[in-house]
Symmetry: C2
Subunit: 336 residues, 2 copies
Amino acid sequence: MPRVGIREVAALADVSMGTVSHFLNHPTRVSAEKAKRIQEAIEKLGFVRNNAGRQLRLGRSSTVAYIVPDVSNPFFATIAEGVERRAAQAGLSVFLANSGGDRAREDSYLALFEEQGVRGMLVASHDPIEDRLAAARTRGTPSVLVGRRANSAAQPSISIDDVSGGYLAARHLIEIGCRRIAFVGGPLGIQQIADRLQGASNAVRESGTAMLEIIDIEHRIISVGHKVGAELSGRPAEHRPDGIFAVNDLLGIGLVQTLVGNGVRVPEDIAVVGYDDIEYAENSLVPLTSVRPPHEDFGIAAVDLLLTVIGDAPLPAETQLVFAPDLVVRRSTTRG
Amino acid sequence: MPRVGIREVAALADVSMGTVSHFLNHPTRVSAEKAKRIQEAIEKLGFVRNNAGRQLRLGRSSTVAYIVPDVSNPFFATIAEGVERRAAQAGLSVFLANSGGDRAREDSYLALFEEQGVRGMLVASHDPIEDRLAAARTRGTPSVLVGRRANSAAQPSISIDDVSGGYLAARHLIEIGCRRIAFVGGPLGIQQIADRLQGASNAVRESGTAMLEIIDIEHRIISVGHKVGAELSGRPAEHRPDGIFAVNDLLGIGLVQTLVGNGVRVPEDIAVVGYDDIEYAENSLVPLTSVRPPHEDFGIAAVDLLLTVIGDAPLPAETQLVFAPDLVVRRSTTRG
DNA sequence: ATGAAAGCGCTAACAT
DNA sequence: ATGTTAGCGCTTTCAT
């Protein structure tokens, strides 16, 4: 099979290469008759425009990259929806990459996308990564740090205000009458987690009457929620918290399952608040009250920020965007 | 900022462009001294190799695409892990794309990746897509259909034997004593769903004593499980099934939650089997017995198949690979 | 409206 | 071991 390029199309349609190119890029400038001949030739030959040649000539691509630690995490996946939609509107395609939380893979994708000549990168990462993004930026590929506020003023970022999220969760528990509040989460070395605790702590202090117990855990998954739930149900009622702030929904779901299974009533005995508002939160045994970060809007805003950084949109005063989360109240905190 | 290419590096290192290229592609052929000068120049200038030029010259890229309807679906996400690892071993990078189950987006990604000149594509889709893959193939981009057996012999595919999965599920229910079995799933227009029903039906017929009720539903999500669970708990006990085969785990989880919430015991009154063995199945209220398709292995096998199709690996006799699922037995079907 | 031609950055074949 | 050079496929002036 001989490779078919613009040249073969031109030959078959009996026009020049330039006309074929015009047809491809500025269809209006080509006469109807030749357009038809060219179109037929393209279909007959199965011509596919070679992006390498195009990009080389144009000097730039029309793609952006979105790198995440875990595509299957509903938080990142939902953002991806917004990212793709907005990028498409701007005429850009999105290359998704899954780093698996592995630095080496993260690095290799960063390098790959730089070589690909993407217009910009959206990067979510648990690692310290600003240095590498700064380096990429000096080499010509700008980026937006997603999910975490950047330390450097030069690094655009878009993030959730986790302090305010933690505050919302704890204040809600206090408002429905909880006085012994447990924070279930960790590791505190992760900024987002520490921020949520900080916010919760602020709310508790502000109340003047409530107390905060911190249950530090390693992994934020359902089975750990089970474990902690078992421990709590085993305590005499007067030593149990009456409200739990689980630092994510998976923990919250696990906690509720085990508490209820052991005869502890949710929310009557213990009210529970989760974080992230994943789909399962709404559909769990006892629908879970949860702190909801913006989702699709967040992806849209991320792309918009990247576009301004790239220079395709006017520069805003501020390139460190912080979004405020909401609280979605469900049965797990609805008493009476 | 002047764009820096191989030419600028060569000038600064005081060598020829060819030597820089050699350094990049065949480092051993360059003397230590010049290698050092080149390396320094690269770092000093922040040189990034332009892939468009490279690819244009080489006539091919070293990437493959993996297109899925929903990246956040744990089934595809887990496969992606295997795909990426195996591709990396073969020196290939993976571009992930999320079609959102939307045909237009699917098409635009197919076209994009063809233009990008990927070596091949792994495509999972709920739509009829073989025609388009065939067209892409004739134009030079081969593909492997993932998750569904291809109709055309010319289209390589890798899939799960859903008939056998459905059979496993139903036979297990029968073996633990169920006689009135309900199949909860739909739409039957989806091949995978129809196959699972087929398998279940085979097992029931084979038993000679069991009966099968089909509850046809539209969406395979938790909330639909709730709805069906409510309906079933409302029936007089003698008209309820004593075993349920839920066509996926989300349905199964929803069913179990509502049944148990309404005082129907699982598995004593009704045993429940799910499908897919997602993470939540193991950690649900009553750990859910589930049909488990191969996961990471599946991704590895998919890449291997694509490599053979591309021609980087020896051609096997068969390009329609079918994997057999397992059954993972948990509490939801463990009586006594 | 159409055609001719230059050149984007890179690699490898060939020459030294 | 290193340099020289042709040309990959395309887009876009610039003519006509």
